[in-house]
């Protein structure tokens, strides 16, 4: 009755986007961390994400766990294929995650946890970007398992996508800080956002151009009529978002740039999803081939349909509870 694999594909696609978006801004705060003008700024930055980071990271666990549950074959192929970047990402997440608690307990050694937070965030973000780059280039599969080399993920291209994601997350982080802080922290965040915005545009253009060049199917999809016209709004809207952010940054708007950055991520993400459809392990296994048993997918779906709206409701409530700007107390 239901097209279970398709529903699960859509759910996971959404969950991964929520991860990229939510952990994106707090990883971005980590990326910008040591460049902030003062220790007080850093305290504010940390406080602006402290109540949320744990929940944000849970979307990663949901994406990983959901992939295991709904598409075990894809999970079993992709994890070994990206063994090293996944492990490095996890180690990065450890170093940044513990910093939230440790840096406020430390006095003399606080700088250690500041750097642990910064470099952990950079490693995690960079590895996610590298995985993304390696993923779009395709994964070698034989039978039901990964058949490539342990270093297949490492290439100039994946290095470039790693750097690209660093800038992307930095933009999310900077616009988040504009929204959640004021005074010199906000002004500094605005400068950061203006600075990284251009890089984000350049990298997004490179990725958008390189994907059709590398893959015939992707080229065919984007540059054949009438698909070209259907897909044209994606780059156009993205370009419009860039222009709007730029103008907002000039004018000093505090809230809209964050949501426009989210819009840019959403557009890029949709474009990426359309390009790779229907592959879950590009270009070897489709989401239908990787689907778990129908009874497994429906068993989990029954609960998910009830629980996921509740989760979204209380997560939203949590953001509502911690609304407003982080305290400026301390600027005396």
């Amino acid at each position: 009755m239901f097209d279970l694999p398709l529903i699960w594909f859509a759910l996971l696609f959404t969950a991964l986007f929520l991860y990229v978006l939510l952990d994106g801004f707090d990883l971005g705060v980590g990326i910008l961390f040591p460049f902030a003008p003062s220790d007080e700024c850093r305290d504010r930055m940390m406080n602006s994400i402290a109540p949320f980071w744990d929940g944000n990271e849970t979307w990663l666990v949901l994406s990983g766990g959901g992939l295991f549950a709904a598409f075990p074959l894809a999970y079993a192929i992709l994890m070994p294929a990206f063994y090293m970047p996944v492990i490095l990402m996890l180690l990065g997440l450890i170093f940044r995650g513990v910093a939230f608690e440790f840096r406020f307990k430390a006095v003399k050694s606080r700088f250690i946890w500041d750097y642990s937070f910064h470099f952990g965030s950079i490693v995690a973000a960079f590895m996610q970007g590298m995985i993304l780059g390696a993923y779009v280039r395709g994964v070698q599969v034989e039978g039901r398992s990964f058949a490539g080399h342990p270093f297949d993920w490492l290439s100039a291209y994946s290095f470039m996508t790693g750097v690209a994601l660093l800038f992307g997350y930095a933009l999310l982080g900077a616009t988040w800080l504009m929204m959640k802080t004021d005074g010199i922290t906000r002004d500094w965040a605005r400068k950061c956002a203006s600075y990284v915005l251009g890089y984000v545009g350049v990298f997004l253009a490179i990725v958008s151009i390189s994907m059709p060049i590398m893959n015939d199917r992707v080229r065919h999809l984007w540059f054949s009529l009438p698909d070209f016209y259907y897909l044209l709004p994606i780059p156009l809207v993205t370009a419009a978002f860039f222009v709007l952010i730029w103008r907002d940054l000039q004018k000093g708007a505090e809230y809209r740039p964050f949501f426009l950055s989210v819009g840019i991520f959403l557009m890029g993400y949709i474009g990426w999803g359309i390009s790779l459809w229907p592959w879950l392990v590009p270009f070897a296994v489709t989401f239908r081939q990787a689907a778990a048993a129908a009874s497994s997918q429906s068993f989990l779906l029954a609960g998910t349909l009830v629980i996921l709206p509740v989760i979204i409701a209380y997560v939203a409530w949590c953001y509502y509870v911690f609304r407003g700007k982080v305290s400026e107390e301390g600027y005396y």
């Binding site: 075990p72 079993a76 009874s295 407003g324």
Partner: protein, 467 residues
Amino acid sequence: MFENLDPVVFSRIQFAFVISFHIFFPAFTIGLASWLAVLECMWLATGRPVYAVVYRMWVKIFAVTFGMGVVSGVVMSFQFGTNWAAFADKAGNILGPLLGYEVLTAFFLEATFLGVMLFGWNRVNRGVHFAATIIVTLGTLISAFWILSANSWMQTPQGFMVAKNGLLYPTNWLQIVFSPSFPYRFVHMITGAYLTTAFVAGGIGAFYLRRDRHIKEARVMMGMAMIMAIFVAPLQLLAGDVHGLNTFAHQPVKVAAIEGLWETQHGAPLTLFGWPDQKEETTKFAVEIPRLSSLILTHDFNGEVRGLKAWPRDERPPVPWVFFAFRVMVGIGALMALTGLTALVLYLKKRLFDTRWFQKWCIAMIPAGFAAVLAGWIVTEVGRQPYIIQGVMRTADALSPVNGIPVAISLGAFVLTYGVVFGAGIFYIIKLIRIGPEAEADVYGSHGVKKPALLTPTVSKDEGQHV
């Protein structure tokens, strides 16, 4: 030389390492969350500030421990894929949804409401804050429910079929979620977690009493901990015994390894201590109590207990690990019950809080729960070997298509990272203990800032002072 590195061995060591490290944190936070909920409840009910002060001290320790539990737990959710992909592929239909439910029903709940619990003191009213504490507590228990359900299914699998392509397919979800060993394992683990926390709290309380510091708060800590030791420690021995009978029914080879019993016997003795020798298939220097093993396991002095030789060599677990770990666990369990008994006697003599040697003893017992939990998991996990899913899939067949070098490197990286990061965590927890409970209204989440971390107060002034 590096071509010969065996990815199976390194993957096993890596998994054992990351999961052993991880289990310390949930073992502590499950109990601590429940205790914090009780403390906040007592504070709201009685209005006595001492409970709030104790809450404030331990919620900081909870936050540090929980943070470490989260980051080491994220690692776990990827290990199945990175290192045990063949297992993930074969059993994904069954274990995937169980872990999926854990994320959906527990992880989000814990992560989101933890934020409110730690930082929400000036932004929500007391009732909502208490609700957040309760929800976090529920989250820890729900999380334990699903992960123990998954683990129990791997111990005592049922409700599935093996398809022609070798994959496992679910046939009955109720049977999968509630596999035969699950209820026993759940009760045993939750009780173990509660006792672990109780002995930490009790030991810290004793430490303050010994130093004549924070007397009021220390009495709350030690008093509540000893209530657990008096009533729950004996129950845990009972729960463990029932769990053992369940294992005897479903995984008899594990019990044979626990007992160090090689020959199948009627009227099997209970080996108190000895040296099991896997090669020579005998337990050396055994100190035995005749017929007791048969009596415990079959409730009959002459009941039959199968020995390890009833199984081929390649079906037996590594006996010494199981044998010794079991004795560590039971030994600590007995010491905990003894502590409870002593506490009861001292309490009746009205000497519970000022007996110096007992304070020393309680301080020595601080790590006891952790050691027992770890030993217990070694018994049950090593005792299942050589299988990853009892009778269905061998651990050696579960591996990812990875070669030895990356796994050896990642293992090294994990050891180094965990050593540094969690070493620091323990250091900061000890620091928090040294500072001790603070009476003034320094509040968690203010992070040294005298005002709340976020502006826009949403609660009226008289509600502002909060735990």
